[in-house]
C-alpha cells in the first residue's frame, strides 16, 4: 500500500443547482487506502461532493480522477466505486443474496464467480445466515452490512459512504463504527465517508475534511483537526462540549481578556508572534485544569459552578468566569456541585489562538 498514490483526485470542481453554487472550485486528493471522512454540518455539500465522485451528479465544471483515470464523464458503474447510502437503499423485494449478486448478474459475471464473491463478502461481513432473508427481516445493523456487501462483491477500489450510521441507535452505531474500522484495516480500500457526527469522524478517519458552504475548511488527521484547528469554525465544530472561546487581545506575550490574563510562552505560533492584536483564544474543556493540575500552572482563575452534568465516565461542568461561560470536563467521580467556587488553571501551550477578524489560526 502506497500512501502517497492518489486514489481519488478532485480538480477545481464546481457544481451548481440552477443558480445555487453548492460546490466551488473544490480540490481534494485522497490517497490510496486512506479512510477519509467528509465532516460538516447539514447542507454544506458533503453528499453533493460524494455524488459527484460517484458520478451520480453531472458536474458543472472541473475534473475527477479515480486511480489516475479521468472519470469525469464515466458512468457510475464504470468508476470502480461502491456506495453505501444512509437509508441503505437495499432492494426490498430481493433476498440478501439477490441484493449482493444483482449488480454482478447484470455485468454478466459467470455464475460460479458470483457465488464465490458473494460467499467471500458474506464471510467477511458475517452475514452467511442471513443470505436467504429479505431486507425487511433484518435489523438496522444487518442491513448496513448487506449494503456494504453490495459494494464489496463488486471488487471496487473506492468505497463511498453517505452517513451510513445515522439511522441507527446510539449503541449499534458504536458497535458498527468499530466493525467498519476493522473492515477497513482488513480490506485496505480507499474509503470516503460522509458524516456529521464528529465522534464517527474522529474514530474512523485517517484524515478528516471539514466542509462548510461547499468549501473545505481544513483537511488533516484527526489529531491535527482536534489539536491544531486552522480556524475558529473548525475549532468550534470539533469537540463536545465545544471549545471555550474567549475574545480578547494579544498584548506582548500575554492574552488579556476581561478579568483574565494568560501567558503565551508555550504557544506555538504559525508565523511570528504578533505584538498586539485582537484575538480569540480557544481552550478545550478538558484542557481547563482543576484540582492539583490547576495548582501547577501559572494562569489561574476562580470560577463559579453553575450546572454539573454527570455522564458516569466523566463530569461536565458549566461554570462562569466573569462574563464568560466556561465548560470543564472533570473526572466521573468528581463531587463538585452547582454553586461551588473552584480554582481552574489554563495551559496555553494546548490552546488555540485565532485572529479576531480573519478567524484564522495565529
Amino acid at each position: 500500500m502506497n500512501m502517497n498514490a492518489n486514489s481519488v483526485e478532485v480538480r477545481d470542481l464546481d457544481l451548481h443547482f440552477g443558480d445555487v453554487k453548492v460546490l466551488q472550485k473544490l480540490n481534494i486528493d485522497i490517497h490510496e487506502g486512506e479512510f477519509l471522512v467528509l465532516l460538516g454540518s447539514s447542507g454544506c455539500g458533503k453528499s453533493t461532493l460524494l455524488n459527484c465522485i460517484a458520478g451520480l451528479l453531472d458536474v458543472t465544471d472541473g475534473q475527477i480522477f479515480i486511480k489516475g483515470d479521468n472519470v469525469t464523464w464515466a458512468e457510475p458503474s464504470d468508476r470502480g466505486i461502491g456506495m453505501v447510502f444512509q437509508s441503505y437503499a437495499l432492494y426490498p423485494q430481493m433476498t440478501v443474496e439477490g441484493n449482493l449478486s444483482f449488480g454482478l448478474k447484470n455485468a454478466r459475471v459467470p455464475k460460479a464467480e458470483i457465488e464465490k464473491r458473494v460467499a467471500r463478502a458474506a464471510d467477511v461481513l458475517q452475514i452467511e445466515p442471513l443470505l436467504k432473508r429479505k431486507p425487511g427481516a433484518l435489523s438496522g445493523g444487518q442491513r448496513q452490512r448487506v449494503a456494504i456487501g453490495r459494494a464489496l462483491v463488486r471488487d471496487v477500489d473506492v468505497f463511498l459512504f453517505d452517513e451510513p450510521l445515522s439511522n441507527l441507535d446510539a449503541k449499534l452505531r458504536t458497535d458498527l463504527r468499530v466493525e467498519l474500522k476493522r473492515l477497513h484495516q482488513q480490506l485496505e480500500n480507499t474509503m470516503i465517508y460522509v458524516t456529521h457526527d464528529q465522534v464517527e469522524a474522529m474514530t474512523l478517519a485517517d484524515r478528516i475534511a471539514i466542509m462548510k458552504g461547499g468549501k473545505i475548511m481544513q483537511l488533516g488527521t484527526p489529531d491535527e483537526i482536534y489539536n491544531r484547528p486552522q480556524n475558529i469554525y473548525v475549532a468550534g465544530f470539533i469537540g463536545s462540549p465545544a471549545m471555550n472561546m474567549i475574545e480578547g487581545q494579544i498584548q506582548g506575550a500575554e492574552f488579556v481578556a476581561d478579568g483574565l490574563s494568560l501567558p503565551l510562552d508555550g504557544y506555538e505560533f504559525i508565523g511570528a508572534a504578533p505584538a498586539s492584536q485582537a484575538a480569540v483564544i480557544g481552550i478545550r474543556p478538558e484542557h481547563v485544569l482543576t484540582g492539583d493540575a490547576a495548582a501547577s500552572v501559572a494562569a489561574k482563575a476562580e470560577v463559579e459552578v453553575q450546572i454539573v452534568e454527570k455522564l458516569g465516565s466523566d463530569t461536565l461542568v458549566h461554570a462562569s468566569l466573569g462574563t464568560h461561560n466556561l465548560r470543564l470536563r472533570m473526572d466521573g467521580l468528581s463531587a463538585v456541585k452547582a454553586g461551588d467556587r473552584i480554582t481552574v488553571g489554563f495551559d496555553t501551550s494546548r490552546a488555540s489562538l485565532f485572529d479576531a477578524s480573519s478567524e484564522a489560526r495565529l
Binding site: 455524488n51 460517484a54 458520478g55 451520480l56 458512468e75 457510475p76 458503474s77 464504470d78 466505486i81 461502491g82 456506495m83 447510502f85 444512509q86 437509508s87 441503505y88 437503499a89 437495499l90 432492494y91 426490498p92 423485494q93 430481493m94 444483482f102 449488480g103 447484470n106 455485468a107 453490495r150 459494494a151 463488486r154
Partner: protein, 307 residues
C-alpha cells in the same frame, strides 16, 4: 400520600366508563358512514338479493321462485356473452391501463421538459364522462367518416379498421375508448408512487450498473406494490360498472356482441321489466366482486396490523 387517602378523587374517574359512550362524538360523526354502509349498501344489497329469488316483473313483489331466475340467467346466451365480454375487457383493461399508466408515469418521471403539458394531455379525458367518451370514439371509429374512411381516402383502399362494426373485435373498440378515458388517472397515481420512491434506490442501481429499464422492472415495480394495489382497486371498480361507455358507443351491438353485465341488469330491469332477472344478474356481479374483494379488504383494512 397514597390513593387510599383520597377517596373522592379515586371515585371520580376510577370507574371504567361504558364502552358505548366513549368517543361519542366520533360515533355520532360516523353516523352517515354507518347509515350508508348498513342501510344503503347492506340493506339495499340484501333487498336486491332477496328479490332475485322472486318473480318480480315491473314492480318488486315477494313472490318466491327459488333459483329460477339464476337458472335462466346462466342459460341465457346474452348473459354468457356479457360475462365473456367483461372478462376480455376487464383483463385487457386492467393489464393495459396498468402498463400504459405506469409507462407514461415512468416516462414523465424521467425529468423531461414540458412535463406538466404532457401530464395534462394524458389526464384531461378523465374529466370527461363516459357518454362523451363513447360519442367521441364512436365518431372516430365510424368506418365511413372516421379513421378507416380517412386512411382509405389517402389511397390505402384495403385498410380495414372498423372495430365497432365487427362483432369479433367490437369489445376492443370499447377498450380503446375506455383506455383513453381512464389511463390518465392511473398514470397520476403511478407518478405519485414513483415520486415516493427513495432517490437512493436509483443511485444504488446506477452504481450497480443496472439499466434504467431493468431497474424499473426488477426494483421499482416490486417496490410499488401498494400503489399498484390502489390502482388495481380503482380500475377494477370501474370495470365492473362498465355501462355508460357501451351504451354511448355501441349500445351492445353489433347484435349483442358488446353486451356487458351491467347493461344486462339495466335492460332486464327496465326494458324487459323482469326485475327478478335483473336482480339475479346484479347479485351475480356482486358475488364476484365480493369473492375478489373481501380477502383484499380484510388484509388492507380489517387486519390487525395497523391497530
Amino acid at each position: 400520600m397514597s390513593h387510599a387517602e383520597n377517596p373522592r378523587g379515586a371515585e371520580r374517574s376510577a370507574r371504567r366508563p361504558r364502552q358505548l359512550f366513549r368517543n361519542l362524538n366520533a360515533k355520532f360523526a360516523s353516523l352517515p358512514m354507518i347509515l350508508t354502509a348498513l342501510v344503503v349498501f347492506v340493506g339495499g344489497t340484501a333487498w336486491t338479493v332477496a328479490h332475485s329469488f322472486t318473480k318480480s316483473r315491473l314492480l318488486p313483489k315477494w313472490d318466491f321462485v327459488g333459483f329460477d331466475q339464476y337458472e335462466r340467467l346462466w342459460n341465457s346466451n346474452r348473459w354468457m356473452i356479457s360475462v365473456e365480454n367483461l372478462m376480455i375487457y376487464g383483463v385487457c383493461s386492467l393489464v393495459l391501463t396498468m402498463v400504459l399508466g405506469f409507462t407514461l408515469a415512468a416516462l414523465l418521471d424521467r425529468k423531461i421538459r414540458f412535463e406538466s403539458a404532457f401530464r395534462t394531455i394524458f389526464l384531461y379525458p378523465f374529466a370527461l364522462s363516459f357518454i362523451v367518451t363513447g360519442l367521441a370514439w364512436q365518431w372516430i371509429l365510424n368506418p365511413d367518416f372516421g379513421l378507416q374512411g380517412v386512411v382509405r381516402g389517402w389511397g390505402w383502399e384495403s385498410f380495414t379498421f372498423d372495430p365497432l362494426n365487427n362483432p369479433d373485435i367490437v369489445i376492443f373498440g370499447v377498450l380503446i375508448a375506455g383506455l383513453w378515458q381512464g389511463t390518465g388517472f392511473v398514470m397520476v397515481i403511478m407518478l405519485a408512487g414513483l415520486r415516493g420512491i427513495d432517490e437512493d434506490i436509483w443511485k444504488a442501481s446506477r452504481v450497480d450498473g443496472i439499466g434504467v429499464a431493468k431497474t424499473y422492472v426488477r426494483v421499482i415495480i416490486p417496490m410499488m406494490r401498494p400503489v399498484f394495489v390502489t390502482a388495481l382497486v380503482i380500475i377494477a371498480s370501474g370495470i365492473i360498472k362498465l355501462y355508460d361507455l357501451v351504451v354511448a358507443q355501441t349500445n351492445g351491438g353489433p347484435g349483442i356482441s358488446s353486451e356487458v353485465p351491467a347493461k344486462y341488469v339495466i335492460n332486464y330491469m327496465f326494458q324487459a321489466q323482469n326485475l327478478g332477472q335483473g336482480f339475479a344478474a346484479s347479485t351475480m356481479m356482486l358475488l364476484s366482486v365480493i369473492i375478489v374483494l373481501v380477502p383484499w379488504a380484510y388484509l388492507e383494512f380489517g387486519g390487525k396490523k395497523r391497530g
